[in-house]
């Protein structure tokens, strides 16, 4: 079900493990290529530089919280509050900019707010011992309330070139969100595969009790992961506010499901113990390609919801079938 920390001799098997991991994310590439081919044939706009840039930018934006959520899910937990964090970060940043503060300071304050929400989640989960699902459900409601109260129900509309640069700017011709995503993805990959912290996260996801008994600082690692998710939610909020040039208590409704969907479609098991950074990136591209295609085909938004829901269910069925195939098939009889 989950891989434990490799023992001696596992090093020899590492290339094979890496290969099998690569194959595991391959099933995502197949529908992705298929959909791309279908869209290229069905619409004349899909295969244009502008449109593909749109897809990649949208995928990049949702991949940033997705990557943080990958850590959280690999730890066997959820953070449902991320959509509210998006709203609060955007609202605080835009209100500060409207209030005459420099955009850089406002953005930094926004990120700090995101980190604070993450810290709150972490403390409620570790110190009060509340189940993460419900704790973050409660903070989802609370933070949304704070965001609505903070903005007083009004939109904070800004026109700041610094903030705008975040979503619309380009560095050497590469869109800024893509740069941010690349940096985040590299950091996440390095963290998961090359650091002690990443190994700790997966160890906690495999078996928290065993991790605690092995002397890992379980609570500290969990709190840190929630702070990371909070900051990533903050970056998401900045990007969304930058795109729309406003902050509002209404932004980010239901975003938590997007972030989780991307991770789950990417193949990170909900049972914890495993993180697939490449899978999450592919999952983000897949979802945004589908959204883009449905838009190009003039599909009503209602069908978009249905198709993303079905996609989630199909991805999970495949995941469950693969998991149950050899060893566990007899388990549930």
């Amino acid at each position: 079900m989950t891989t434990a920390a490799p023992e001696r001799g596992a090093r020899a098997a590492a290339p094979r493990a890496r290969l099998s991991r690569a194959i595991e994310s391959a099933p995502l590439a197949v529908p992705l290529v298929l959909i791309a081919v279908v869209l290229t044939v069905a619409t004349d706009r899909f295969l244009s530089v502008d449109n593909l840039t749109n897809v990649v930018v949208a995928a990049g934006i949702v991949a940033i919280p997705g990557l943080a959520m990958t850590l959280c899910i690999a730890m066997g937990e959820f953070d449902l509050s991320v959509g509210s964090t998006v709203s609060l970060t955007g609202a605080v940043t835009c209100t500060w900019i409207v209030g005459g503060h420099p955009a850089g300071v406002a953005m930094l304050v926004g990120l700090l707010v995101g980190a604070a929400v993450g810290l709150l989640n972490g403390l409620v989960v570790t110190k009060l011992g509340v189940t993460p699902f419900i704790a973050t459900l409660a903070t989802l409601v609370i933070v949304r309330g704070v965001s609505l109260a903070y903005t007083g129900g009004r939109d904070a509309i800004v026109s700041s070139s610094t903030l705008k640069f975040l979503a619309a700017g380009r560095v050497f011709g590469v869109p800024m969100p893509v740069v941010l995503t690349a940096v985040t993805a590299l950091a996440a990959w390095w963290m998961v595969n090359r650091t002690r912290f990443g190994r700790w996260v997966c160890a906690i996801g495999s078996n928290r009790e065993a991790a605690r008994m092995s002397g890992l600082p379980v609570d500290r690692v969990r709190t840190t992961v929630y702070v990371i998710v909070g900051v990533a939610g903050g970056i998401w909020g900045l990007l969304i506010s930058s795109q729309l040039q406003k902050g509002s208590g209404q932004l980010g409704l239901g975003f938590e499901l997007d972030a989780i969907t991307v991770v789950v479609i990417g193949g990170t098991s909900l049972l914890g113990g495993r993180a697939s950074v490449v899978g999450t990136l592919l999952g983000a591209v897949l979802i945004e390609t589908i959204r883009n295609g449905l838009n190009l085909l003039n599909t009503p938004p209602a069908y978009q919801r249905i198709s993303i829901g079905l996609l989630l269910v199909v991805a999970l069925t495949v995941q469950a079938m693969r998991r149950n195939a050899p060893a566990e098939a007899l388990d549930d009889v």
């Binding site: 189940t131 949304r144 209602a302 999970l316």
Partner: protein, 361 residues
């Protein structure tokens, strides 16, 4: 615990062991923690009701209480079924989508064939939604959490598709129809939706406490492994639970839509979270295996009363969310303490530490 002979008291035991099995069982069931676990949230509700005149002078009027009960019914009905699921260590996150979909189809049914057809359509749609969830979880082996998360999108999406050309609504000319009575009628001063809710809790209570199926639901929640070794089929039970949830949404949608008269794909956004919050607030453990229906019942009313008090004292909607979220967290933090004191004699064990330090004779 089935043996008739009382165990000899261990050397240095702090409390004299109760003599008979009956006494011991009584002690176990009436420890502070156990009583609190069942009745705690009800006590909070009673205190809140007693304090309500201080908070809002208009609260304790018949009309207002009727409106609170009527408002709470649809949430309460689904929460009863959800309690079964949470006791069984599963979730159904799709109830919000189900409620929107069932409300839409019910109104379509009413437009096509009056009250009878509307009721039939509501129940059939609800059960069908539940069966789809159940099939995904049992036949396709998708983890319940995400299966129902996916179906939340799908159900809501279908509701959106059905209401593409504007929300479904009852025309005003239907004000005298029996369908509207479902949500609006008072019997002896008590709103009909609330009576339906009470009846529903009664039925679920019988299922849970008086049938073998109920024991199986709890058994699986408290230890899946042990239940499996006893030959309990998880799949049949899960299927049943999801169908019961679907049915409850069908009933709830009837009481809901006959009161608000209109529905579309956006109806009751976030409903699933409110249902689960009520169940958890009522003391049902998310780890499965334990919980009480009376807890859920009181929690639903508590949330309804709290909401009403906040609204009538003019608190802004955004602060209402903050208050409700904080209540949820507090309840769960207390839940930790509650579990700690649920074992018999645990309260006594915590207080007099020094006794243990005294040397045994």
């Amino acid at each position: 615990m089935t043996s008739d002979t009382a165990l000899p008291p261990a050397p240095g035991a702090q409390a004299p062991a109760p003599a008979t099995e009956t006494q011991r069982r009584w002690a176990r069931q009436h420890s502070i923690g156990a009583v609190w676990e069942t009745w705690g949230i009800t006590a909070v509700l009673v205190v809140l009701l007693a304090a309500s005149p201080l908070l809002s002078s208009d609260f304790l009027t018949v009309a207002n209480l009727q409106s609170v009960l009527r408002e709470s019914a649809y949430l309460g009905i689904v929460a009863a079924a959800m309690t079964l699921a949470v006791m069984n260590d599963t979730f159904d996150l799709s109830v919000g989508g189900q409620l929107a979909l069932v409300s839409v189809t019910t109104l379509m049914g009413y437009a096509a064939g009056g009250t009878g057809l509307a009721v039939l359509v509501a129940v059939v749609t609800g059960v069908a939604c539940g069966a789809v969830n159940g099939a995904l979880v049992t036949a396709m082996r998708v983890p319940p959490f995400v299966a129902t998360l996916g179906m939340l999108f799908v159900f809501r999406g279908v509701a959106y598709v059905l209401t593409q050309h504007g929300p479904k609504a009852l025309p005003y000319s239907e004000i005298g129809s029996p369908f509207v009575k479902i949500g609006g009628l008072n019997l002896a001063g008590i709103p009909l939706p609330f009576l339906i809710m009470v009846a529903f809790y009664g039925a679920i209570w019988v299922l849970l406490r008086r049938t073998a199926t109920g024991r199986r639901i709890l058994a699986f929640g408290s230890s899946p492994e042990a239940a499996r070794f006893c030959g309990i089929s998880v799949h049949r039970i899960r299927m049943l639970i999801f169908v019961v949830i679907g049915f409850s949404v069908g009933v709830a949608a009837l009481t809901y839509v006959s009161r608000v008269w209109t529905a579309d794909g956006a109806a009751q956004d976030g409903f699933e979270l409110r249902v689960i919050a009520a169940v958890v607030l009522g003391g049902t453990s998310l780890k499965g295996g334990k919980g009480t229906l009376i807890g859920t019942f009181s929690a639903v009313l508590l949330v309804g009363v709290l909401n009403d008090l906040l609204v009538s004292s003019g608190v802004d909607a955004s602060y209402q969310r903050i208050v409700l979220g904080c209540v949820l967290i507090t309840a769960l933090a207390i839940d930790g303490l509650r579990t700690r004191f649920a074992a018999p004699g645990s309260f006594a064990r915590v207080l007099p530490r020094r006794r243990r330090e005294a040397p045994a004779p």
